[in-house]
Symmetry: C2
Subunit: 495 residues, 2 copies
């Protein structure tokens, strides 16, 4: 696929001078229309062979466009805050909000390609990375992002020539490092791995554009025109939402489901509770100080019907931990900064660093629960969320994060009893709102949503723990016990 970028493309200075002002003007207008509409972000990935003019092109784009609404990110070695989180975390933090252009210099492609070239990873690892990238970009595109991927190419002889030229000129000598020559030695390997990666990730929605990098005028005009065409096409397109192929949900043929077949009868007397509470809190506390945990982190998800006891359960967990080590995130309506980003962005930002715990009181599952039932998002949005969530959790687990998910299940009668109690007890008053009564009327819809959720997102790597919670004490102990066992099992596994 690189042959077409080794044909010696060339644009004369005269022609460049003739075409540049018009292109520049059109680009600027398109950028202002994007800013005004503000309904999608533009992500430009710049990658390719060293010396093929990546940096110059990015600088030129910044000169042509209004630099106030572009943000260029260069990814070198991860900072320590980044190194302690799943590897995609640094890219999530760099995503441009709607209406803006983000230029990513070095991206999620750099490590998979370079690690494979240097032999740090196997072909199987590369295949897995490519699969992750495809899913990630698919998510971005479906969410509305315009993703433009530019690969700047040089033939082997052209790269050698280019590096020598840069070295000869005292003004540019600083730009050629030993790493560049080191990498040049593995040009052939690099080319092979890159070609494979580009081919596999050149999807209809986010295709690669390979640009011959030797002649500056050619590469500038090509990159500029590509960007312009993509922007204009997208700005002209109607704001149509993609529909999923079909609603792949199982029909309900009988009335049995994972919630109504749960055994709600178990209970626990106070004395046993006090003794087991102490036991499991102690065990959890010791686990939180386990030397193996210093290179891991823990994410706990609490979901459940209203009044199922999430708050009380969370407090029994936090009581076992040092306050400096955990953070509880109550999930409410997104802020406007969060609304300008893909759905999962507001959860990525709270991921714990090593040796830390984040507890989500409600979570990314809101998409397939309340947002589905209340129709806050389109069917297409929540339908695709299952796969996105599974990808997300898989990424966490593969990067050493321990993920434990709880659904606290109560029966409809028990919920009624608790609502009434809350209304009657003065200091529990704040816990009951008209919303709670309204949600209760949709009990069946929520039940259906929960069952679909469990069916689709209870995976081997991040299974749902369904906790019958009619008896508060029993539920809390089951949660603590499950938590301890899950953490112990995860710490025992190699990552």
């Amino acid at each position: 696929m690189f042959e077409a970028a080794e044909v010696g493309h060339r644009i004369s200075k005269e022609e460049y001078k003739k075409r540049e002002p018009e292109l520049r003007h059109a680009l600027l207008l398109a950028q202002y229309r994007l800013l005004e509409k503000g309904n999608f972000p533009v992500i430009i990935i710049v990658a390719g062979v060293d010396g093929a003019g990546k940096g110059e092109t990015v600088n030129l784009l910044n000169e042509w466009l209004d630099p106030r609404h572009i943000h260029t990110h260069a990814f070198g070695d991860p900072t320590d805050e980044e190194a302690q989180r799943p590897h995609m975390w640094r890219f999530w933090r760099a995503l441009p909000p709607k209406g803006r252009i983000g230029v990513l210099f070095g991206s999620w492609y750099t490590d998979p390609i370079v690690d494979r070239v240097t032999g740090k990873t196997s072909q199987g690892d590369l295949v897995q990375s490519i699969e992750e990238i495809r899913h990630f970009e698919q998510m971005l595109v479906t969410d509305g992002a315009l993703v433009i991927k530019l690969w700047f190419h040089l033939s082997k002889s052209a790269q050698r020539k280019r590096l020598k030229e840069l070295e000869k000129d005292p003004k540019s000598r600083w730009r050629v490092t030993e790493t560049d020559w080191e990498r040049f030695k593995s040009y052939d390997k690099f080319r092979k791995v890159s070609e494979y990666t580009l081919r596999e990730t050149s999807t209809g929605d986010a295709p690669w554009m390979v640009i011959e990098g030797e002649d500056p005028h050619y590469r500038y005009l090509t990159a500029g025109n590509l960007l312009l065409e993509a922007l204009e096409a997208r700005l002209a397109a109607p704001a149509e939402r993609r529909k999923p192929a079909a609603a792949h949900l199982l029909p309900e043929l009988d009335s049995r489901n994972v919630l109504n077949t749960l055994d709600y009868s178990p209970s626990m007397d106070k004395k046993e509770y006090v003794s087991l509470l102490e036991k499991y809190q102690g065990r959890l506390n010791i686990l939180s100080r386990d030397p193996r945990f210093t290179k891991r982190s823990l994410v706990i998800v609490f979901e459940g019907q209203d009044a199922a006891g999430k708050g009380g359960s969370i407090r029994r967990v936090t009581a076992a931990l040092d306050a400096r080590q955990y953070n509880v995130i109550p999930v409410a309506a997104p802020t406007d900064e969060e609304r300008a980003q893909p759905y999962l962005w507001r959860f990525w930002r709270h991921l714990p660093r090593h040796n830390h715990v984040t507890i989500f009181d409600r979570s990314w599952y809101g998409r397939v629960l309340v947002e589905r039932v209340e129709k806050f998002c389109s069917d297409a949005d929540w339908m695709r969320a299952y796969a996105e969530i599974n990808d997300f959790e898989e990424q966490l687990v593969r990067n050493g994060v321990i993920v434990v998910k709880f659904w606290l299940a109560i029966t409809k009668d028990e919920q009624l009893r608790r609502f009434r109690e809350r209304e009657q007890v003065a200091y529990k008053n704040h816990k009951i709102t008209p919303d709670d009564w309204r949600n209760r009327r949709k009990w069946k819809d929520y039940e259906r949503a929960v069952c679909d959720m469990v069916e689709r997102t209870s995976t081997e790597i991040a299974p749902w723990n369904l906790v019958p919670a009619n008896d508060v004490e029993y539920a809390r102990i089951m949660i603590l016990e499950t938590l301890c066992k899950s953490v112990e099992a995860a710490l025992a596994r190699k990552t």
Copy 2:
């Protein structure tokens, strides 16, 4: 001031058991009222002698209160992202938003005290740090924050006893490190420096509370009651805004001011412009790659009347830099996350790391310009902003950030000419809005605000550069030249 915390305070287990449930209940109610009102943040600083029960108290507060709305921050060694910014940056990022409680474990007090005790800094340095802290806390309080400062104290003999106890118990042995014993050796020095620091920073609005740490029941009840009283008093207080003592602005006795006495006549012909542009852009580019800049960073502020040419000037600056090195922040209306924080928070979050440049297109000066003139904030708010801004810029400069501020000044006639041009030229259309015409009608008010701003915030460490900008080319060259000279001078100075 520590004597009162060495009297052997003690609460019996029975009394504690009697009083704890009531306190706990009241605290929880107060926390929910805070959350509901959502109009001020609570900042709890926890400091004091090692072994005096700081950690246990914080854990207990998290147990008593709803941990979903508290965020505990422990500050150890700064991460590399923090180390490359002014030292207060990490605390700004940790401030709780309105309605929430932030517990700061280790805070802006730790370094000044420890550095003085270990002899790393002089008494003069400590005095300066204290001054900065007073200003910072004053800002927080005036902005509405409830600041509660708890110091947990132990006498020397009590500390020795406590460390030995912890060491004896296998369960708590891990908590006593060599650093603790190292620090214990300098108990007397630590006590002296702490006492001085506490005395000097115990202001009426943010007083220190010294709590004897030996008896757990006593320290828990005391800390809990202090927090409860402070919260209840604040929740009961009317939402009254503080007035400044008096409006200390100079009267306008004649019509001369810094703007109308500026010489607007200088201009530059195209040929000279092109040659000087290349010269200064080249010089700036070399400066941006100066080895001394790798430990520094640069903040450039652009302010000016509408149509004064900020955008074009910024593009002449960015054209000299590598896109990976700078970031332009166009300042518009704050997001809701920004509105839940003190005014300067949204600028702190964009401060550049080492070797990077942030260019603000409009800035924190909006407070004393548009917000003052359009009455978006109270008189008290913009009056106090002058001092807050000076403190802010002083902190930047003292931490190695190079700060360069430009006011682009045009005359009223020239503005009219440019507005008309913008209306007539198609591709400049987006640059002119009804707001521009409305602002123009308030020319006098804005002029007054600018003159007050220059008088109050053109400091030796961060002076205003007033640029007559009727001639676009002249202005751009003056900006680039001033920028080069300012950066050169700053790099030549030791930090």
